[in-house]
Symmetry: C2
Subunit: 699 residues, 2 copies
């Protein structure tokens, strides 16, 4: 990747002097951005451009070339790339569109290009991209003609879409944020998002990374890279629904992915997901400040209304407005005409108009131990205040650094003044109260991730009987069939997950026979795919103590079900030993196309069916991941003993999740694992699987 | 209100030539904004200002005065207002702070002011506000010194906070949106938000109204006004949580309100609620376009990436990307080099670079019957395109109007060019894809509200026995006690809400005795406040067919409960005739401090306890309100017969809601009504209350 960003001798292929020529724009950009290397132009018509000759082929250039930028029709690219190879060019940026995303013909060109690149050892970006920028050396080769109005800074951008990449550049420029590097990766035929990310993580000039993705390539690799990055990585992942899928396919040939898994993977690896440009802009700005290390925010506001907005937003973002200590308030009272300002947090500056005093108050606030960050809500009362506001901003910049705490500076002023501040200060200027506090929330969340990353990197390994499972799975595979219920339960047992076996009875007599074998009391449950709420229709009959009870219960069940689900196909009833207490949950796992094995947990019944409340994590999961899965389940208060009820065995739930994770990692051939239901008992009493299904990849 | 916005002769009281004087700013603003009336300055020190003498009292002014703007210390205001009264001034704007929001002394000043205003017939805005603007006549009296950089337009602003009001002005100015009128209403001692709203609804210059509120005054009045407004009303209601409450109280003396009721009230009356400045800005912009009348959006994009983002956002906003008809595509193919553009919706313009053709495509798209609106996603490839882009924009402006469909124009270009477009075109310019589509969603929702407002204004009145209820409630009130369960059920019966009475048994023997009276089979249910999930712990025993069954069930129940809730206080068990089938729901109502009677509906059990899933509406509710309550319940698919199960009697649920609404309206003394549970049976089988509680206001 270094060669892509730092060439010394560049050939731009596809240049002419025509007004609409895009290669011309590339040459123009290199000149305007002051590229510190040598540039040669190549184009079949020859001629001159920017006081340079246009060579009719790369071969003609009387110099060695490090990198070629190609922007010629798709069908010419294979041949031109071969010429580059023969010339000894090792890096290329292929901006041309019309490849895989246009159909079969384009795919064929791509295959040719890959072969040529491999043969000549060429690494390349694209095709179907708008190019690369490195503001460190002025290397700027996008085909749109850019203006040099972007500050040099520490944000680097990787975008699968050129258009979205350009929007991000405009956003940086508009917010006065500084760019370091930019890559439009397009079809990612050779260099992909993970390659660029790996480079940027170690790149000295880059401190914040933004990635726009329409598809996940190697999700697991992305996670691994993100986990070892101390730099914040923001990702805007689109193509999340059915409508987006079709156009994404024809745009960058991107397949959709399971968005819930993407969410989990990002969170597990500390990737900050953004959902719109507003969130992106505010997050980038907040990341220019020191991190919000705790939950205690101080709000200092010139307007009471802004203070109210801020307080609401703090509550929604989970921040505390820690009360200021008495000593601090007395200090303020002494020095700062306290009769007119309201001494609470939020601190409403009332009719105190001295901006010098504002600076002193911000500094005193930052000195407080129970303040992790400050949002300063400024309102300009007239243009006459612009100069003193700028002085205040300078002081705040210094203070935020000195105390290593974020001071989010919000200003309500004329557009001209806001723009002046953004363009002339290396400090983020916020103009929206609620959005700023949301961004501070992100800063805190990222900091916490960073603090706990070591803990969450520890993976427990239970002692399990891998060999027995290996043997069982191999047998099943040989017989080209699915695992039976009993085999699935055996696999689980080998991994320390206990179960209660039941027997499927097709009629009342069978049910009575099995009940006798199992021993009374028993439970019987209807097995029928179409019946979603078994208990609602008498489909679960518990605590049956003798054969009469089983018989009556069986008949009752069928009558009730016939009344409610006249058309349901009933496969039989499951007879199980009566297991008292506990509640049913759903545990599971599956292989995700992009991220590999994932673990699932849900409270049963309507939680899953109606609320789609399932927690997902990419395996392997750590202890804290598993705890987090339980805690984040809506309804988890039920598990912990809501309203005086006894708590369930959460420890065991956590252990079972980790064991499932271990099983999925050990046996990637397990395509799907469902434990539905798992009976979870009261504290210290464990869990037992009542039903399980394992589906193998090749079965 | 007319006199507040349209004075001819104005006195500004509190003016001096000191640099920090705020009255001076007001005079400056009136001059800068070209006020078309006469202005007099008043201040105790006398002197000159803007070539005018400063009179030492209003009495000295040798002219009649329509309106006084007062910005002097709080303790001087009562006296000065009295002077105004004596002078015959009929309107005032009191900008001074330090009243009720500062404590008791301030409250006393407010009382004095109110008395004086009443005596002299003065209507006034404030106190504790930043003033009023009317761009129609240049009347501009906020005390911050403003620049005349706001276009005159059709948006009017009402803000309870001066600071937030100023932010809104900056937002308009920044987005190139036009202001009509502005009022900072502050403490609303005399003129309140509803007064201003009523005026603006009929005001010719105003087409869109934005209100910032920290408290609800007369919520019901606000609803009534909004319901009769054809102009969109956007409200940012803050002070929604505990953190905001304290500061709001000391800021504008605002009490918090039940946010769920506020949400319902706004939706019922077509008020568009906004939650942050981003949403406000985008909504204001979209409302400048024709409404989005249907769900079919066409996306036309220069960048494939933007098209993917747009498609995702369409899915989230519930829009369809209706496929373009073949005839349309053939037309495009014929004229517009179709080989390079992808003929789907979203339409990716690919490498078609002719902006004139873009205009033709937009027009052809607008002509399609199955297209209700267009989002055009433009990306500027170089500054050279600025002129043609402006031409395209002019054409789009005309087209959007001609076809009466919104064309949201998104542009990704340099900040300078975007600003130029915003300031020089009377057409909204969008710069964020996802946010723009969300705003189009709001436009569609507002249009639908508007379409259905008549239907939702029809209130059914069932024949009920009001007199019987009147008599019963009066009796209870006389006896200064609460209604008994049986009385509550009687009230419901008089309003056509049927019930199943049960009997409370304190032990197994009583349960058996009552069961015999009621007739077998019976159900018994534990009555204990602390037990939230009765069914989980055997607390509900159904279908008991004889006295042995009741006895065993009673013991079983107590044993299981003791195991799970060792400390629960058990009040007894309710013995009821066995009612087969159906499911339990919660119906209810209460008096809201700001909005009066509200009706509640929830699915029982965990839906309410864990998910807090309750639908609330302000009474009276129409048929469609009631239907909407059912449909918007999470889990409503259960009611409608999910997965082949029989549907419950939704018609009856709807009827019961309307009957409860009628009861609450007829008897405002009902502070709280709870029907928990109401048993809802299968289709056409109705509902029956199993338990009910009515609490009266004065009991």
């Amino acid at each position: 990747m270094h060669g892509i960003f730092n060439p010394k001798k560049v050939a731009v292929i596809g240049v002419s002097s025509k007004a609409t020529n895009l290669g011309k724009n590339i040459i123009g950009n290199l000149v305007e951005f002051g590229f510190n290397g040598v540039v040669y132009a190549v184009g079949p018509s020859g001629g001159m451009i920017e006081t340079k000759p246009i060579y009719t082929s790369i071969d003609e250039i009387p110099d060695e070339i490090d990198l070629a930028v190609i922007i010629t029709p798709a069908h010419t690219v294979p041949h031109l790339l071969k010429e580059c190879g023969l010339k000894g060019v090792k890096f290329a940026i292929i901006e041309t569109a019309g490849f895989r995303e246009y159909g079969e013909k384009g795919s064929n060109y791509e295959n040719e290009i890959s072969k040529i690149a491999e043969k000549y050892g060429i690494q390349f970006v694209g095709p179907n991209c708008i190019g690369v920028i490195n503001l460190e050396n002025g290397f700027c080769v996008p085909f749109p003609r850019l203006k040099n109005n972007i500050k040099k800074g520490d944000v680097s951008i990787v975008s699968q879409s050129g258009g979205v990449g350009l929007s991000a550049l405009n956003l940086l420029s508009n917010e006065g944020l500084g760019l370091n590097k930019f890559v439009s990766i397009g079809n990612m035929l050779n260099i992909n998002a993970e390659h660029v990310l790996e480079y940027l993580i170690d790149d000295d000039g880059t401190r914040i990374i933004f990635i726009y993705l329409e598809s996940m390539g190697d999700g697991r690799r992305l996670m691994d890279l993100a986990k070892r990055s101390i730099k914040p990585i923001l990702v805007f992942k689109s193509n999340i629904g059915e409508l987006g899928q079709k156009i994404a396919m024809s745009h960058t040939a991107s397949l959709t992915s399971d968005d819930k898994v993407v969410d989990a993977a990002f969170e597990q690896s500390g990737i900050i997901r953004v959902h719109d440009a507003t969130e992106l802009g505010n997050n980038l700005k907040i990341l220019e400040l020191p991190p919000m290390k705790g939950k205690n925010l101080a709000v200092i506001s010139r307007s009471g209304g802004h203070a109210v907005l801020a307080a609401d937003a703090c509550e929604l973002s989970g921040f505390n407005l820690a009360p200021f200590p008495d000593s601090f308030l007395r200090e303020i009272e002494k020095h700062f005409r306290a009769s007119v300002i309201k001494l609470t947090n939020p601190l409403d500056l009332g009719d105190l108009f001295d901006l010098d005093v504002y600076g002193q108050i911000v500094e005193k606030t930052l000195q407080l131990e129970n303040v992790d960050g400050v949002i300063f809500l400024h309102t300009s009362l007239s243009d006459k205040e612009n100069l003193v506001t700028r002085e205040l901003l300078k002081r705040i910049m210094v203070m935020s650094k000195k105390y290593d705490k974020p001071v989010a500076f919000y200003d309500s002023a004329s557009a001209e003044e806001i723009n002046f501040l953004k363009q002339n200060f290396s400090f983020p200027i916020f103009t929206k109260v609620v959005e700023t506090i949301r961004a501070l929330g992100m800063s805190h969340k990222f900091f916490c991730h960073f603090e706990t990353i070591e803990e969450r990197g520890k993976f427990k390994n239970y002692k399990v009987d891998t060999q027995a499972v290996r043997y069982l799975l191999d047998t099943v595979k040989k017989e080209k069939r699915n695992l039976l219920l009993s085999e699935s339960l055996t696999v689980l047992e080998h991994y320390g997950i206990k179960s209660i076996e039941g027997k499927l009875a097709l009629n009342a007599d069978e049910a009575i026979e099995y009940s006798k074998k199992i021993g009374y009391p028993v439970a019987i449950k209807v097995i029928a795919e179409q019946i979603s709420h078994k208990t609602d229709v008498g489909g679960v009959q518990l605590n049956l103590r003798n054969k009469e009870a089983v018989s009556t219960a069986f008949d009752d069940m069928m009558n009730q079900i016939n009344a409610s689900y006249p058309n349901a196909k009933i496969d039989g009833v499951l007879v199980q030993p009566m297991v008292m207490g506990g509640r049913e949950m759903i545990f599971g796992g599956r292989q995700d196309a992009q991220f590999g094995p994932v673990v699932l947990l849900g409270l049963g019944g309507i939680f899953v069916e109606i609320f789609k409340e399932v927690q997902v994590r990419v395996a392997p999961i750590s202890f804290s991941d598993a705890v987090d899965m339980v805690n984040r389940l809506k309804g988890s208060q039920i598990l912990k003993g809501a309203r005086g009820q006894k708590a369930y065995d959460v420890k065991s739930i956590v252990e079972m999740l980790i064991r499932i994770s271990q099983l999925l990692i050990d046996f990637p051939e397990i395509a799907e694992l469902d434990i539905n239901p798992m009976r979870v008992f009261y504290e210290a009493e464990g869990c037992k699987a009542l039903d399980a299904r394992i589906i193998l990849n090749n079965s």
